[in-house]
């Protein structure tokens, strides 16, 4: 996910430069089982999907070669484009909210880590991570329901006009799903960032204070650069969660109302198993994979230590 530290990278290079033919053989021998699993469960399915994406096939009967028609459909069909767009909108919620809040929390509890305040904060924020996603999805569906706590709260503070069935609302369903995802991912990001900030030498902050830095400068010049690796991991994981989201949407809205919350992951499932369009589903899957790779490539580049 992140690039390995320099020392580690050097060690990884050692067998190549120094290893004899024999030790290289031994290395392959040790790698082989893992590679076999990787091939069987990752490479082969990937190749199959790629192959299917050029077929017109219902999954049972005779398959016919279909050229790039499936790809043309994925990239031109307005519904499918909207679905892909939804995924990118979710990135805004799944990534931005947890990373920003995580950074804020990490900055605030830096220096209080040992105290009960730090422990309590970490535990509370990590809690969503240990709750099964399905349970979280259901709980949030109730909270967003017409009579759920969200609306109760709004009515209690006199904003009854705002109350609505959030997950059934054409405008608000997608943001509501985004909030659920943000809530789920917040714990992970906070833990990563809080752990990362403890590794920053505290005397850097002291030196900065003597240099005249205000809290804002400390954040910009010390915390952010010091957390670059951790931020990159958070962004990578959350971007993938958003673009390849399935479970939260499936439980909360099933893609509705209409297709306002439909995401590629769910659409692939629907196309393949409900509509029996395995070829189109595979093409969408390949496109999704490429979009994920394109989206996280710059993050990886950004995270790399510049020499």
């Amino acid at each position: 996910m992140t690039s390995a530290p320099a020392a580690q990278r050097q060690e990884q290079r050692l067998p190549q430069t120094r290893g004899s033919r024999k030790s290289r053989k031994a290395a392959w021998f040790f790698v082989a089982p893992a590679f076999a699993f990787y091939a069987a469960f990752v490479l082969v399915p990937l190749a199959m999907s790629f192959y299917y994406s050029f077929l017109r096939w219902d999954g049972i009967g005779q398959a016919r070669f279909h050229g790039i028609t499936n790809y043309v459909t994925v990239l031109t069909d307005p519904k499918l484009l909207q679905i892909i767009g939804n995924a990118f909108q979710l990135v805004g919620y799944f990534t931005v909210i947890p990373v920003v809040l995580g950074l804020a929390v990490a900055s605030v509890i830096r220096g209080h880590m040992a105290g009960p305040f730090g422990t309590a904060t970490r535990t509370i924020l990590f809690l969503p991570q240990v709750i099964p996603l399905v349970a979280a999805g259901i709980a949030w569906s109730w909270m967003f329901a017409n009579t759920g706590v969200v609306n109760q709260g709004l009515r209690a503070i006199g904003l009854s006009d705002w109350a609505r069935g959030w997950l059934g609302d054409f405008v608000w369903a997608l943001p509501a799903v985004g909030i659920i995802g943000a809530w789920v991912l917040l714990g992970l990001c906070t833990i990563l960032l809080v752990t990362g900030i403890t590794k920053i030498d505290p005397s850097l902050y002291e030196a900065a204070r003597l240099d005249g830095a205000r809290p804002w400068h400390e954040f910009i010049y010390i915390t952010l650069p010091g957390l670059r690796q951790e931020i990159a991991v958070c962004v990578t994981l959350t971007v993938i969660s958003a673009l390849a989201s399935f479970d939260i949407v499936y439980i909360a809205t099933q893609g509705g109302p209409g297709i306002t919350t439909m995401v590629p992951g769910l659409e692939i499932y629907r196309l393949a198993f409900a509509h029996r369009q395995v070829g189109l589903a595979s093409a969408l899957a390949i496109v999704l994979m490429i979009l994920v790779l394109i989206s996280i490539a710059p993050i990886q580049w950004f995270a790399r230590e510049k020499k």
């Binding site: 002291e206 030196a207 830095a213 010091g226």
Partner: protein, 358 residues
């Protein structure tokens, strides 16, 4: 112009007192060294001056301004950390210029100041590097450069040389002495290293248990330690401290009985000691000489040949062990008897209250 005035300063961490009432006057331009054993509160005191720790009680004034509630950036102090604390993602140039940049110094002025600091510290060729690409000594230079570039009134150093090897430490020590001469700044320097303290300081402050034990020039501390702690702490190897009793009092001189052995110790002025009082005799290893007519008889336990001198560990007839540093390559042998003498004027006496007598 900024001296420092510390008045009745205390620091507690929760219920634990760490600094227990320190009073100190530091004149402008002085090089003051804090020494003391680990955990005695040297860093804490330094950090309170910097503004990185709250002051529980008392006042610290820089110049004639009490700075208890002044932010670190407004105190006119700069600090060099033991870990260097260089900003890892910034080049040396940006590290040195960071404070100026935050202060809104115009770019050309900033550039001139950075280059001037780099020239003074002979690190112009390092300006484009990142801290990770520097050796320990070079990092130290950068850290010092960052501290001096804003021309602070007071420069603070917390064991800046402790991560360097012996040779480099020697070089940097001279460099710091030169820097102190060139800069018009008060310097406060924390160290464990006696050689650093003795060579650099105009004034040494010996701390123990959060209390100032003695303040003085290096030679004052060496020649007239105010109490047993300072006597044992300053000087290497440590001063020999042997328990005895007052045997007889003559003008300007006492006879001290160490068991059956009688030794003479010169004292200045009158003394309140009476015959029979318990005292501790202090004699520096370098003050002892091998002298067949001397009063101290013992057996050689251990010999360390250093070439220019010989360190001899001697077990006295009374059972106490003392260390003598004899000039040259002495021909003593382990297990052989030895007789030692010392000049009565070079000995130190401490009363039961641990304070110096005479």
């Amino acid at each position: 112009m900024a001296g420092l005035t510390i008045r009745s300063v205390r620091k507690n961490y929760g219920p634990v007192p760490v600094i227990k009432g320190v009073d100190l006057d530091i004149a402008h331009g002085e090089f003051v060294v804090f020494v003391g054993p680990s955990g005695c509160g040297k860093s804490t005191l330094l950090r309170m001056i910097a503004g990185l720790e709250d002051i529980t009680e008392g006042t610290i004034a820089i110049g004639d301004r009490v700075v208890n509630d002044v932010e670190p950036r407004d105190r006119g102090v700069a600090m060099v950390f033991q870990s260097y604390a260089l900003y890892p993602h910034m080049s040396v140039y940006d590290n040195v210029g960071f404070g100026l940049k935050l202060a809104g110094t115009p770019k050309d002025v900033r550039d001139a100041k950075i280059r001037e600091a780099a020239r003074v510290l002979q690190m112009e060729h390092l300006l484009d590097r990142k801290p990770a690409q520097l050796s320990g000594g070079q990092r130290q230079r950068v850290a010092i450069g960052r501290a001096i570039v804003r021309q602070p009134d007071v420069l603070l150093f917390d064991e800046p040389l402790s991560n360097l090897d012996a040779a480099l430490r020697g070089d940097m020590r001279m460099e710091l002495a030169r820097l102190h001469k060139d800069l018009d700044a008060t310097m406060i320097y924390v160290t464990h290293d006696q050689v650093e303290a003795m060579t650099l300081a105009d004034k040494i402050v010996v701390l123990d248990g959060g209390v100032v034990q003695q303040v003085g020039t290096p030679l004052e501390l060496y020649n007239k330690p105010a109490n047993l702690f300072v006597a044992g702490f300053i000087g290497a190897p440590n001063m020999n401290l042997v328990a005895g009793t007052v045997d007889a009092i003559n003008a300007g001189e006492l006879t001290i009985a160490l068991g059956a052995t009688k030794v003479r110790v010169a004292i200045e002025g009158a003394t309140s000691l009476k015959a029979g009082d318990a005292v501790t005799l202090g004699v520096r290893p370098h003050a002892l000489t091998a002298d067949a007519s001397g009063p101290l008889k013992g057996i050689v336990q251990l010999i360390e040949q250093l070439g220019n001198e010989t360190v001899v560990r001697v077990k006295l007839a009374e059972g106490e062990e003392i260390t003598a540093v004899l000039p040259g390559q002495s021909g003593h042998a382990v297990g052989a008897p030895i007789t030692l003498a010392f000049d009565p004027a070079s000995a130190h006496l401490f009363g039961t209250d641990q304070l110096r007598v005479g």
